[in-house]
Symmetry: C2
Subunit: 295 residues, 2 copies
């Protein structure tokens, strides 16, 4: 709630006149050429908040730092082009830099972008902050504020308990999303970083609509199922855990169950009334940011 | 020395094929339109490294975080257009955000750019990381690697002891630099963040030249004079303190002593031999990164 208030404050204070899209979506959008926009995003991993020093290696950390930014680029329909890496380290250590570099280079190759700059700061706690520049055809730009009433809600992959399996092996489905947006009329997109409940509410708020989620249809990860005592608990993991880095999108078309190797699942529909509903075995629940409440 | 090794390692590992200029200058440069480049930079302020929590307010911190990035844009000959702000805070605090916003907005107005995005992370120690996008006419782009033998070396403003007076009131002379580059044939530029000795050596290394500095000509700040027991100590402050955020540039032309209200001083010349020399009362000293050594 507090974060929302802050984003609202920043939106009000930093209205952009020159950008196509300023604060408030997965990326900022600026004009580039006749047919293209540039899209800009930043996301940061901080020691003891996003990772614990002893539990990861820097190769994995480099990969993850890139992946969370690629996910934002994917959610706008774009492709990554360039990135700058701003690093905070307790002491300058060439071994750490080498491991990070190996992880980041692997991602550069896989996702076809280049590192063109950065900064190195001393910092008591490690942080790795990425600034990514992507590109998107104007006709393919996807935002949060164009979702239409009666659209279906879809999600890629499987959700929940990502901390167990995926934490350092994220593969944002960016190329599959590109295939999707070229073939179908996608109205809205957002990546799932905070959690399905939280990010779907953001999408609905931006477009001034409501939604009805079929809770039993949500694709639940094996890990979430394994750690849950029953179906409902597993659904709660899928709704609220976050860090899935899958893509949530809306369209009024029927989408195949797979785009290349990525599973796509219809999980609900958009409604006119600004209510956030979850249907579970004929019961209607109220979906909240990271939770439920009963009517 | 260690930092240099790391930058060399990163340059080798992240060679860019698509960018005009990758790692190794004040900004990265990418193609934008027929007549313009985009220039990208990132610089970060970290608690207990660049500032102490009790000694500053967030209004000042916001201003400084922007200024150090404006300085990098100035050193390429460009103007700022857009910025993203990535913030690490121990807890989300609207009052802190308001003060930071006030400082940043003041800079947006003064330097004519817009904030179009950002990120908010929890972090034990505060950091404020800025990603800035600037623009420069292709014909006016200034880099570190085009300095010519026999060029004169100039510097804007006054150097040394910036911690005392200027620490939170930086005014990178970006508009004066624009006037300068439109009127004179400037061959190389770099901003003074690490210190005159250190940054001039970087400039010379990039252009594979040497230099001869007239140490008595260096414009020394009042503060550096005040805290020094003699002229030589004051010169040492001006050479090595850093954080001046003035601009160092080279040209074979005679430049007036003032550009608008900013003082410009000729402090040396470029030589073919890759030696870094300082002349002081007929003695020749060897200039090192943050120091001297006698021959």
């Amino acid at each position: 709630m507090k974060e929302k208030k802050i984003v609202e404050f920043l939106k009000r204070n930093f209205r952009s006149k020159k950008a196509v899209l300023g604060i408030g979506d997965d990326c900022a959008v600026i004009d580039y050429s006749k047919n293209y926009y540039l899209i800009l995003t930043t996301d940061c991993l901080v020691e003891d908040v996003h990772f614990e020093k002893g539990k990861i290696n820097f190769y994995q950390l480099g990969k993850k730092a890139i992946a969370v930014n690629i996910s934002d680029i994917a959610a706008m329909g774009g492709l990554p082009k360039y990135a700058l890496v701003s690093l905070g380290l307790p002491k300058v250590n060439l071994e750490v830099i080498k491991d990070l570099t190996r992880g980041i280079k692997e991602m550069c190759k896989k996702y076809k972008f280049e590192i063109i700059g950065g900064n190195l700061s001393r910092a008591e706690k490690i942080f790795i902050d990425i600034f990514m520049v992507g590109i998107v055809e104007k006709k393919y730009l996807k935002t949060r504020n164009n979702v239409k009433v009666n659209d279906f809600i879809y999600v890629t992959g499987f959700l929940g308990a990502s901390q167990i399996k995926k934490q350092f092996n994220l593969n944002p489905p960016i190329f599959e999303i590109r295939t999707l947006i070229k073939k179908y009329k996608i109205t809205g997109m957002i990546d799932i970083s905070d959690g399905l409940s939280s990010d779907l509410i953001k999408l609905a708020e931006s477009s001034k609509v409501g939604f009805k989620l079929y809770l039993e249809k949500i694709p639940i990860s094996k890990e979430a199922k394994r750690i849950s005592k029953d179906e409902f608990e597993a659904i709660e993991h899928a709704l609220n855990d976050g860090e899935d880095y899958e893509i949530l999108f809306t369209t009024n078309q029927e989408i195949p169950k797979n785009i290349k190797k990525v599973k796509v699942t219809k999980i609900g529909e958009i409604i006119k009334e600004k209510k956030y509903l979850g249907i579970y075995r004929d019961k209607v629940l109220k979906i909240e940011d990271k939770g439920f409440s009963h009517f």
